[in-house]
Point group: C2
């Protein structure tokens, strides 16, 4: 009884409208049709709500997102995405074929380990005055690698013609690139994929510009 | 015929003795009993061999490791590890249970996205003079989060009593922590797990101190 109640409960997503890793999870939930309860964690208000003792108990890394689901708490967006892919119906977020899965994970990790961590809030706060150049450098370096890889793997989406976790990682990273004034036009495959994906409902409804915690002046 | 020849060929691991991400792949190969051809990529010689035009074709991100396997090239160590787990016999590197898999991936990603990228060679070269404090800061911050998580998930190993990708990520990160003079004694669970794991053959034979490209003065 206890277990089935947990399984019936909606997942709780602790996130922030503009966090690219939170957006990844929102897209995965939308693609799978998973309803969830959003709990905003404002990364800049009150000195950063992710730094509170209460939030630290939920996620000792003091980052977003954290997801309470099926009686466990999972932080790290790719772990959450693969968990829901393995436990929820709906379109698969990783291909069936192991080589395709390897390519999806390679692209996802190139973004999630090779780009995003170097331009996240905590790092930029430590960098200080030169943070814009720092972020640009690491995003451009990552996109210079991503472009030739995607040129080889992409069909309609990042890997062939099926949407996957790689697409879920790509779009929020392009959003960050634009925030940091990276010229995405230099990367035609990235640009084309991003445009295609942004036309999809699951990317539209989860966009940082229209979340419950999006400030009025950033809404569109 | 072409395909079966590829499947019979040994994987080629382009790596560096001291790269923690290369070590992860070596451990996975050793646990699975996968023979491979090592190709050393010296990250500091010749201004960094990973920056050559030839290597860039193999891995546009210009990092190690890169693995040629079954006719594809996979960079990003966790993508490689999960690919061999899905295609090779031997002990599984992720548990069968989805919740266990989520925990293994959460811990692996905390290290692979939350710690390692912030203390890798390219980043530290950009940081310059303060690189030792920078690396210490990010490793300590990560370990402060990892310790309470592992306290909850660990049995004999990082997640319960079966070895997994999380253990494969932990040991090389502790090795890096020690290089940067982090006091690992502050983290009793991390310390205990690391000690247990280092006694295993798969961790011993893959250690940076005894690889084909380990310089004579660093051998033990």
């Amino acid at each position: 009884m206890h277990v089935s109640l947990l399984l019936l409960a909606k997942p709780v997503l602790h996130g922030y409208f503009r966090s690219s890793c939170s957006w990844r999870v929102r897209i995965a939930f939308a693609l799978k049709g998973i309803e969830y309860d959003p709990v905003p964690v404002n990364l800049i208000q009150d000195g950063g709500q992710q730094l509170s003792e209460q939030y630290k108990k939920l996620n000792p890394m003091q980052q977003v997102p954290s997801v309470e689901i099926d009686g466990i708490t999972v932080s790290q967006s790719l772990a959450v995405i693969q968990y829901v892919d393995e436990t929820r119906p709906g379109p698969r977020l990783l291909p069936a074929d192991p080589k395709g899965r390897a390519q999806v994970r390679m692209i996802s990790d190139l973004i999630a380990s090779g780009i995003q961590p170097l331009q996240n809030l905590h790092v930029l706060q430590k960098i200080g005055a030169e943070k814009a150049q720092w972020a640009q450098h690491f995003i451009e370096r990552g996109f210079q690698a991503l472009e030739p890889i995607l040129k080889q793997t992409a069909g309609k989406y990042c890997v062939g013609d099926e949407i996957s976790m790689a697409d879920i990682c790509l779009v929020p990273q392009v959003y960050n690139a634009e925030r940091f004034k990276v010229d995405v036009g230099q990367y035609p495959t990235i640009k084309r994929l991003n445009r295609t994906l942004l036309e999809m409902e699951a990317f539209k409804v989860t966009h940082p510009s229209c979340q419950p915690d999006t400030p009025a002046d950033l809404r569109s």
